[in-house]
């Protein structure tokens, strides 16, 4: 087994007994820590304090918590005003509403205006489940990473979400953090390194032939796929690309050269997201065959999270298929 030991992942990673927690829980915990560390941290909420877990901050710091109602455009622009006057506002909602509905306010009053606002989009991806496609945001990475002066983070589990939240409060400037509704395995630990802008190798086989770059809870599927592939003598590297912007270009370049082929895995449209970011970079510096696991230009639908992940091609089997397909392409090119 080729787990990268310095990533200090959870020891029970492959035996199915991992704690299950949604990444939004980590956000709620991180907010409280950030609020304790800096009295300038304030939180704005658009009638979803329970769903986004911002109520944890509200309980602790009611005087720094503002309920905006169902008004995401106002939420973004109020935060912009706070952020240029010494405050560190966090605004959280479902990602379809923020940054979905209020994208222009974020662009003009936060990003272009360089206001120190942290935008938290929960309920991203089809794993939202029964609520259906209206509430399953699958375009947020694209619309946020295209925006100048915006940093984009996609934590892979609740612990990493907590770290990303605490880190965002300390980083100057606009940040976006993408969260999920559904419980997912907590496979990192408090000791797992989290440095904004630095991707983390989670798995590295002896003779890796494909680099699997993932983000978000799907990274757990990537690791299971990597174990399966190794048993079948196919070596891979699994990279946790929790920061989509700025992309860890140096590491991605080095590992792409080492492997010769890349697949990206994200619970997002394959256009414009993590895959897009990696492809834009590699075509310029080191073109390699790529496959893209994610939503293939389609909306989701109601269903159980695990059913939807399978149906839309983001489960273990889809990742393994993408790796194998990519290897066959490498052979043809060779």
């Amino acid at each position: 087994m080729s787990l990268n030991l310095s990533a200090k992942l959870e020891s029970k990673l492959f035996n199915g007994q991992l704690e299950q927690k949604p990444t939004r829980d980590g956000y709620g915990d991180g907010l409280v820590i950030a609020g304790e560390r800096d009295s300038n941290v304030v939180v704005l909420c658009a009638d979803l304090s329970e769903s986004t877990r911002s109520y944890k901050f509200q309980e602790k710091f009611p005087e720094r918590f503002f309920e905006i109602g169902v008004a995401e455009q106002n939420m973004a622009a109020v935060a912009a005003g706070l952020g240029v006057n010494g405050k560190i506002p966090f605004i959280s909602s479902y990602a379809t509403f923020s940054p979905g509905r209020n994208w222009e306010q974020i662009r003009t009053t936060i990003a272009y205006n360089d206001s120190n606002v942290k935008i938290i989009g929960s309920h991203a991806g089809v794993s939202v489940g029964p609520d259906g496609a209206t509430h399953q945001m699958t375009e947020d990475i694209a619309i946020m990473r295209v925006m100048p002066n915006m940093k984009v983070f996609v934590p892979c589990d609740a612990i990493e979400a907590k770290k990303a939240t605490v880190a965002a409060a300390k980083i100057w400037g606009p940040c976006y953090i993408r969260l999920a509704r559904e419980k997912s395995p907590v496979f990192t630990t408090e000791e797992t390194p989290f440095i904004p802008g630095k991707a983390e190798i989670l798995w590295e086989s002896d003779k890796p032939r494909v680099l699997i770059i993932g983000c978000g809870p799907l990274l757990h599927n990537c690791l299971i796929a990597a174990l399966d592939l190794e048993k079948n003598k196919i070596g891979t590297i699994v990279l946790n690309c929790h920061t989509i912007k700025p992309l860890d270009e140096k590491l991605i370049l080095n590992l792409s050269k080492k492997c010769g082929a890349v697949i990206t895995v994200e619970e997002h449209q394959v256009v414009g997201g993590l895959g897009g970011a990696v492809a834009e970079f590699l075509t310029k510096h080191h073109p390699v065959p790529m496959e893209f696991v994610g939503m293939q230009d389609t909306f989701g639908e109601s269903g159980k999270p695990e059913e939807l992940i399978e149906k839309y091609g983001m489960g273990k089997k889809s990742i393994i298929d993408a790796v194998k397909k990519n290897i066959s392409r490498v052979k043809i090119i060779a």
Partner: protein
Amino acid sequence: MERLHEKKLKQLEEKAAEIRYDTIEMVINAGSGHVAGPLGMADIFTALYFHILNHNPKKPDWLDRDRLVLSNGHICPIRYATMAHAGYFSKEELKTLRKLGTRLQGHPHRTVLPGSETTSGPLGSGLSQACGISLAGRLDNKKYQIYCIMSDGEQDAGNTWEAVMFAAKYKLNNLTAIIDRNNIQIDGMTENIMPLESLRDKYESFNWHVIEVDGHNIQQFVDAVFEAKAIYEKPTVIIAHTIPGKGVDFMEFDYLWHSKSFNKEEAKKSLNELRTLRGKIKSEHQ
């Protein structure tokens, strides 16, 4: 802020006429830009920068300054001209409006021009930003006032009313909104495009204190700002009835001048008319 006396009032009116003149020259020089709105707001901007605001042009980032938020960013020529007169930068810089490398962007940008407070242009989000600044002031126990200038056209925007509700909920009494009620927007008269009346009733029913003034009567406007400061239990909106293009006869009340620029002849004519206006102000006060 002191009460106005006759001499100061005359000075302000003369200043407003000078600022109108420079505003037109700026827009002529730039070759594009909005002009009717800026002319209509010249008296109010002059009153704010030369009588009302607690500010320091040499220290635009002074933490205790009053904040003037311009929500309808397209009328920025009037703000730029007034800021130059107030000493934020040289009048020479006004010639750079809308040109490559300028700090005087076609719509205001906070990070390049200290003193702008916000970046604006897309309508409807300025009052929200002003609410955020107001909250920040309250959290920090600051005494500064926040003034937010909006157009009447942007009362069409849902975002504006989200902010109106928010300000009332949190009783933002350090916030005074000022609506430039000039009745025009790009496509025509506001009441034809999307009727706003009764604007007073709307704001009152949203729990705001409402004052209506003649936006060209500096005395009335200053009195309204005094009154707004005295209202503690709710935010105040001053609906300032203005004449778009005020000071240039052929532009007044004509919505086509909302965003149209001048040809040579119109430019000359408008500057001549403003010269006459300045003469009138002088004689009226003699």
